[in-house]
């Protein structure tokens, strides 16, 4: 770990000032940040610890807009009674992420920003355009089983790992960010960026900005939703693939559908193609699977991750069938 100065601002206003300084990084729950620093994958010159600012820790799931303070703990949000009944996909995405020790520490704001688990990024020595811009990408000629099939580039094929972020992508979500110069709201689809010329750039957040809240528009489709996660072991593992499906049903007919895919893209991935394939159809195993395949029609498989197309399509199909029964 590289040396840094540690500051513990007494207020959000003080945090804005400290966060503006070059080389500053925010510390919330620390579960990702401390690990990245220990591996020299990031080396901020100053740490601004905001983890104790309780004004950002509240959340309210009862109104027309669900509001999650950025510092709400994953474990607390995962057990919110309203979320469990009215938006099971969101609660499940948190319950199925990490372990209880990590969920007790990690915040819903920080969790959205967790960085890829790509082994070539994490090992600290392989060529990696994300870690050392311009150094190349060892994954392109390496083991590609865990790599992405959507929004990849010639410079980076690393998967976005977050369950919560992938589930949020299925809903009308936005992120409230504030800094010394004011507050703005970013549509969730615009928070993460597909890797272009510089894979080190992962979000549209600007220097000094702090995520203060996550906002989700209430929808009746929330009740009829699920987050399905497929892992290499039964618990406490990242998704090989995941599917979030939220539906509005009239009898067996899908009135509207929301679908997002995890473990397959370089950023949280909403699948409008799968949504279109579900909308208006009578839901059964065949139509659900057809929608799953539609979601992967534009996938760009690599040498070893093509299996995720069929696995992912079937995950979408099963999630749709599970969600449709939650009326």
């Amino acid at each position: 770990m590289q040396p840094f100065t540690y500051a513990r601002p007494a207020s959000l206003t003080e945090a804005f000032t400290l966060a503006q300084q070059p080389g500053a990084a925010l510390l919330a729950g620390g579960t990702t940040m401390v690990d990245l620093m220990r591996g020299d994958l990031t080396a901020p010159s100053s740490i601004v610890d905001i983890g104790h600012l309780n004004e950002l820790a509240a959340f309210d799931t009862s109104g027309p807009v669900l509001r999650f303070g950025a510092l709400a703990r994953m474990a607390d949000v995962a057990e919110d009674a309203t979320l469990l009944s009215a938006y099971p996909a969101l609660a499940e995405s948190l319950q199925l992420a990490a372990s209880q020790q990590l969920r007790n520490a990690a915040t819903v704001g920080g969790n959205m920003l967790q960085r890829t688990r790509c082994v070539y990024f994490r090992d600290g020595v392989s060529a990696c355009n994300k870690r050392v811009p311009g150094s190349g990408c060892s994954a392109l000629d390496g083991i590609t089983r865990d790599m992405a099939l959507f929004a990849t580039s010639e410079k980076c094929i690393a998967t976005y790992p977050g369950d919560w972020g992938n589930a949020l992508a299925a809903f009308d979500t936005s992120v409230e960010v504030s800094s010394a110069s004011g507050t703005r709201t970013i549509p969730f689809a615009e928070l993460h960026v597909a890797y272009g010329d510089d894979p080190a750039v992962e979000t549209t957040l600007r220097r000094g900005e702090i995520i203060t809240a996550i906002l989700v528009q209430a929808t009746p489709a929330g009740r009829c939703s699920t987050y399905l996660k497929v892992r290499d072991r039964q618990s406490y593992a990242y998704a090989v693939v995941s599917a979030t499906v939220a539906l509005e049903m009239q009898g067996d007919v899908v009135q509207s559908a929301r679908v997002s895919l995890g473990g397959v893209a370089t950023k949280p991935w909403r699948s409008h193609a799968a949504e279109a394939a579900l909308t208006g159809v009578t839901l059964n195993e065949q139509t659900a699977l057809a929608a799953g395949h539609a979601g992967f029609a534009d996938a760009r498989p690599l040498a070893e991750n093509g299996f995720k197309i069929e696995l992912g399509a079937r995950a979408v199909a099963r999630a749709a069938l599970v969600a449709s029964k939650r009326i």
Partner: protein, 165 residues
Amino acid sequence: MPDTLPPETPLLVTLRVNEHDHPLALDPRTTLLDALREHLGLTGTKVGCNHGTCGACTVHIDGRRQLACLVLAAAAQGRDIRTIEGLSDADGALHPMQAAFVAHDALQCGYCTPGQIMSAVACVTEGHTRTDAEIREYMSGNLCRCGAYPNIVAAVRDVAQQKAA
């Protein structure tokens, strides 16, 4: 301003551990795990992966289980920290979970055991013990390479049932 200090400047941090306050001068990089073991001599909390994946360093912070390897000591100021050393009574009587681990032979080499026990105590407090499947799911953050899992589940179930009785 804190940011104008050279990074080598020790931070003065008071940690409250097992109901005692410990003033310390620490490198800002010091994790809670290192502070407990290297500065306070509390070596019951184990270093496993030092990476957040094995659970050997599980402690309670404000009554909730967390991983000491992923918490900066400076960030733990003002929090109530409990380690395995603080679990038994002042007279040395074992905590019911410690006794259950003995009774159910819930360990082999013992390295993961302090983390398992701290996690198990919290698991019961949280109420995540309604079924064996739930116990397994909520204990999945603690790895045991000896494979004592069935007996660990039995110990947790036993304490949960004692508490409910």
